[in-house]
Symmetry: C2
Subunit: 356 residues, 2 copies
């Protein structure tokens, strides 16, 4: 609605000045800049090319672009977003906030300058304050794959509590009593859900939560190895591990195979999978699966809908389901005397068939 000239007229400045503010040019008086920004926030503004409004949204990363450290979550998410943008005919830009945003401009300013009308945000380690800031500026935005208590922050996430709880209960029903939990060492809502599911499942089964069985580490292969070493090395070792992120899970599996620990005969493993990694290895991972592609598609649809309808007050705090999928890495708890074999090489497992 509001054009550069309209805003300029209201404030008794020239369109040139408004444009300069929008593009973060240095030579504009601080007071003037404030006035213009205030009015823009008040009236709203959509970037245009000529008379046409630009139908572009962005997927914004707080820092490093498109890390592949979370397995194939990112491509699955991107693929979903592209599908979600198909029908409303929007384009997608990729943004690196740290790199492109000038320190002295607001987020709204930054996004307008980049010619986008809305933004899908990825939430990582330390950028929760950033996201809250963006929310208070009321620029159309939605966070994927994380949850926020702060009002005004829109998000779409997969709630892994139910299926995480199913996972732990599944392990309990298989006779496991020493179930380890390998957590991510930075708190986000997903991992909090999984922690709660673990606690609740144990509590309801009358099992204690042993602090020695809970470990917090970065999401990485080597963390997984450390988890396996720690949990099988205890005096009363774990017979099952629930790992709350994909890379740690892979690390656990890799280390178990390296040490010749038979999964699932000697140790059961439940992981979390964002994409199809669980099927890439043998045995196929029993895992809590979240559909990153669906997450992306839904987020894109919500955002474009909000933009198109102009309902800036719309709020999204949606949750989609995750699924616990039983595959080959979970089995009955081993007999007590069979545990504690510590040879570092492969173990004889010729009795495999009989045990099934």
């Amino acid at each position: 609605m509001a054009s550069v000239r309209a805003i300029a007229a209201q404030l008794n400045v020239s369109p040139a000045t408004v444009s300069r503010v929008l593009n973060n040019h240095p030579d504009v008086d601080e007071a003037t800049r404030e006035r213009v920004l205030a009015r823009i926030n008040e009236l709203g503004y959509s970037p245009r090319i000529g008379r046409r409004i630009t139908n572009v949204i962005a997927l914004a990363y707080p820092d490093e672009p498109v890390r592949s450290e979370y397995g194939s979550f990112e491509p699955a998410l991107l693929s979903g977003i592209m599908r979600g943008l198909e029908e409303p005919q929007f384009d997608l830009k990729l943004l690196n906030i740290r790199r492109d945003k000038a320190p002295n401009e607001t987020y709204t300013q930054f996004f307008i300058r980049k010619g986008i009308r809305g933004v899908i945000l990825r939430c990582f380690r330390n950028n929760r304050p950033t996201i809250c800031k963006i929310a208070t500026e009321r620029f159309p935005a939605i966070v994927v794959a994380d949850a926020f208590d702060e009002p005004g922050v829109n998000f779409l996430r997969a709630d892994s509590y139910p299926s995480s709880r199913q996972a732990v209960e599944h392990l309990i029903s298989l006779g496991h009593r020493r179930i380890a939990l390998a957590m991510h060492n930075v708190p986000d809502s997903d991992h909090a859900d999984r922690r709660r599911a673990y606690d609740d499942a144990l509590f309801c089964a009358g099992l204690p939560v042993d602090p020695a069985l809970v470990i917090e580490l970065p999401a990485s292969l080597s963390s997984g190895e450390q988890v396996l070493d720690t949990m099988t090395g205890l005096d009363d070792p774990a017979t099952a591990i629930f790992a709350t992120n994909p890379m740690t899970t892979l690390g656990i599996m890799r280390r178990a195979q390296e040490k010749g620990i038979d999964v699932p005969k000697q140790l059961s493993v439940v992981g979390v999978d964002d994409s199809d990694v669980r099927t890439h290895i043998w045995p196929r991972l029993s895992a809590v699966t979240q559909d990153a592609s669906a997450l992306g598609m839904e987020a894109a649809r919500w955002l474009t809908e909000v933009i198109a309808s102009g309902k800036t007050a719309a709020s999204c705090r949606r949750t989609i389901d995750t699924v616990f999928e039983v595959n080959g890495t979970t089995g009955p708890a081993p007999q007590r005397q069979a545990r504690r074999r510590q040879d570092r090489g492969r173990v004889t497992t010729g009795d495999a068939e009989k045990a099934d």
Copy 2:
């Protein structure tokens, strides 16, 4: 250089008409459209917003956006592109050609309409003609991860011939004589390189190429399983497999572990890895590795350089190196009598330590 009004003046039409042609509006006479397009191709054209030229390039997919079927090649590539765009201050758009391009517009028209000044192209199954078409239109473009004989097509790829040959020679030096080759079933230059390397390495070692040991299948996990079943089921089975794509390699490993075939004691496997998948499993894959991130970064740099300098005649037919990395899936060829054990369950491998 050429603006809408300049072109309009040269052709005695109005700027409105030129704009309509550029945006593929239906209500413009076919003859007029042709004239305008011809002049635009002649003079060149860069999309602008107001007086500013837009520094945006696109990563264009022929069809489905950002398939994750090639493992984490895509995120690694994207990450590299973003890094490559950092210094020249360009933005990146994601484009799905099939979805967004109108059938009756040229590629140049399409890209201009999307406001981009250059494009990085992904080459898949059937879009080689598309890419050649784009090249003849002379819009700034570069293909990543494939090679073209056609002049005018710019590309940047990783040459996997030397390291593929190293890989096969490595297997030969380990005593393998029955080395299978699992190829992708659609021809592209990468896979052609690997085929040549296989043939040459065998030939130079005085070994015959047995057609029974060469198989062409889609890049997928199930293909890998089929490869393993076929190659170990021969009367004179393979003792090593070279798989020319990541997913097939994973399928082979998965199936080998499922059948209890010990890699590398009973069977050696060499794969190809675009990212870090080779380290995600145990044993770590011996693999020909290509740095998708470097590919993306170099492509982005070349493209932005061409755009900035205006050297539309510039040509890029570069190749970066791949590396053959020896990890845990390659070992000495098994003794002849030890082969042909066909029990479907796990095999006793208690003598593992001694063999080392």
